[in-house]
């Protein structure tokens, strides 16, 4: 059952401070309304994973590890590989996180990141069929949130994409009845680069990439994930506030533009890997 979360741990004066600054078009960390924080992407930290990427978005830290294995396909897609996205809000990432099964926030994040990858057809799942109806390649995308300073969804999506782009898998081939795993390493077939851009609404102002304090004050957020060609592949509104249709259209427009910039940064960080 989903329950209204406890009140955010931010005082009225701090809240007022953020709101007053925004009325003047300013943010508490001197960013412009549509600026993202510094984005740093580190590839290949975890050699035992098929691929990994550590993302620092401001002080938010999210790492994604990719594990690729052979397994059974889903019955309704017998000739396709399988994509499985999971997210873990590691307890030390925030005083608010507790150990245990994934919270609704973690489940929502995993499903939004999954939608971005799946609906943009980023992974060529058809090419991951090894033995039709029996054996396919399963791509496990495990998102690990290590430090929560706001905008986990965007950071998670960036780290998942960077990890996928730099993943290496063994070549699987049928040899009669058996599957032969060659030593040769090949990249995952990646055909798109979905980027999630989250807009937060605070007192009627729309800002991108909210830091934690801004998230504690915001009334609602809208995440828009777009692909290479600017088409929208996933959207998710969150929070107790509302949006007018004008605000939504504006957020979509901004997300398409900003998505392009972020995509370039990801390409730069993962090129030639």
């Amino acid at each position: 059952m989903s329950t209204t979360p406890q009140q955010p741990p931010i005082g009225k004066i701090e809240q007022k401070g953020i709101v007053d600054l925004l009325a003047k078009g300013l943010r508490i960390d001197e960013r412009k309304l549509t600026d993202y924080r510094d984005l740093k992407i580190e590839i290949g930290l975890v050699q035992k994973a098929n691929g990994s990427a550590m993302v620092n978005l401001g002080k938010t830290k999210v790492m994604t590890g990719i594990k690729i294995e052979l397994g059974k396909p889903f019955p309704d897609t017998p000739n396709q590989g399988v994509l499985a996205v999971n997210a873990e809000f590691v307890p030390f990432a925030s005083p608010a996180f507790e150990p245990g099964p994934p919270s609704e926030g973690a489940i929502e994040l995993a499903r939004v990141v999954d939608r971005g990858i799946r609906e943009s057809k980023a992974i060529g799942l058809e090419a991951l069929c090894v033995e039709p109806k029996k054996q396919v390649v399963i791509v496990f995308v495990d998102v690990y949130v290590l430090d929560h300073d706001g905008n986990l969804i965007d950071a998670a999506a960036i780290s998942a994409l960077a990890a996928l782009l730099t993943s290496k898998m063994s070549r699987y081939e049928m040899d009669g009845e058996e599957v032969r795993t060659s030593d040769e390493l090949v990249p995952l077939p990646i055909h798109n680069e979905p980027v999630a851009v989250t807009t937060a609404k605070i007192d009627g102002n729309m800002i991108l990439d909210p830091c934690l304090e801004e998230e504690l004050v915001m009334s609602s957020r809208l995440t828009v994930t777009t692909g290479r060609d600017g088409s929208i592949c996933a959207m998710q509104k969150g929070g107790l506030g509302t949006f007018t249709d004008q605000e939504i259209r504006q957020a979509v427009k901004t997300a398409i533009e900003k998505g392009k910039e972020i995509r370039e940064t990801i390409r730069g960080a993962t090129a030639g890997r």
Binding site: M1, Q7, R111, E119, Q236
Partner: protein, 254 residues
């Protein structure tokens, strides 16, 4: 080869179930269908069969979830095991957990929860039969259940999904259109305030297609809202009509 896909829209813009692109499925709503719940509503939309019930405001359990200045809202979206083709395990799935969250958020906006601090308002949505757009129909029913329970609301929330099938934007997807379509966009809307309380999307839409879909979705929500208000009042109006009719012969005699 995956199962061959059916053509969802023919050359005349007619869908598999005979609808035009901008047509809603037949909708039926009844309010006050359960005896024990404080408020309840039943909705049929296409083959969707959904009951929503509300308990509250009531004491918050466990006590520590209570909020000092307003009511806590709890929401459970759950599909019955027999609601879909292949039996679904009764244990809540990740999808049901995500939907419980976004549905709670879409309704909580409309609830004037400051009127009942330190209490809990519990919303239950049970999908007895699922046929595409169940979360939207669930929100439509749940909002009615809240009004039926006498929970103070800014207004009643209406919800509807929009899809893209065979490249065309269409309203209110059925199960097959939801599964085989190219995009699914559930929307919840408060018509008087003119604001959106739920918005999700998966699939592929250009910016232009999205704008078109948003317009159609909002217009449909306004229509659904009218049906909701009528369903809410119907119970009281029929009691009034029956009662006053019984009285009339009395007056005629005098």
């Amino acid at each position: 080869m995956n199962k061959p896909e059916v053509k969802l829209v023919d050359e005349n813009g007619v869908r598999l179930d005979g609808r035009k692109l901008d047509e809603l499925r037949p909708i039926k709503m009844d309010v006050g269908v359960l005896d024990k719940a404080d408020g309840s509503a039943y909705i049929e939309q296409g083959k969707n069969r959904i009951i929503a019930a509300v308990y509250g405001p009531r004491e918050a359990h466990p006590k520590h979830i209570a909020l000092a200045d307003r009511a806590v809202i709890k929401c459970r979206y759950h599909m019955a095991p027999f609601s879909v083709e292949e039996r679904k395990s009764p244990a809540p799935s990740r999808r049901e957990l995500e939907l419980s969250k976004v549905i709670r958020e879409s309704l909580e906006t409309s609830i004037m929860s400051e009127v009942y601090p330190r209490t809990s308002i519990d919303i239950f949505i049970e999908i007895l039969q699922s046929d595409g757009g169940s979360r939207c129909a669930g929100i439509t029913a749940a909002s009615l259940a809240l009004a039926d329970a006498g929970v103070p609301l800014k207004e009643i929330v209406a919800a509807c999904a929009v899809c893209k099938i065979d490249g065309k934007i269409a309203l209110d997807p059925s199960d097959i259109e939801d599964k085989q379509g190219d995009a699914d966009l559930p929307i919840a809307f408060m018509p008087k305030s003119g604001v959106i309380t739920l918005l999700q999307m998966d699939g592929s839409l250009t910016e232009e297609e999205f704008n078109q879909a948003l317009d159609i979705g909002i217009a449909a929500c306004k229509k659904i809202n009218e049906i909701q208000v009528e369903a809410l009042k119907r119970k009281y109006i029929s009691v009034k009509e029956q009662a006053e009719e019984r009285h009339e012969p009395q007056e005629a005699k005098a």
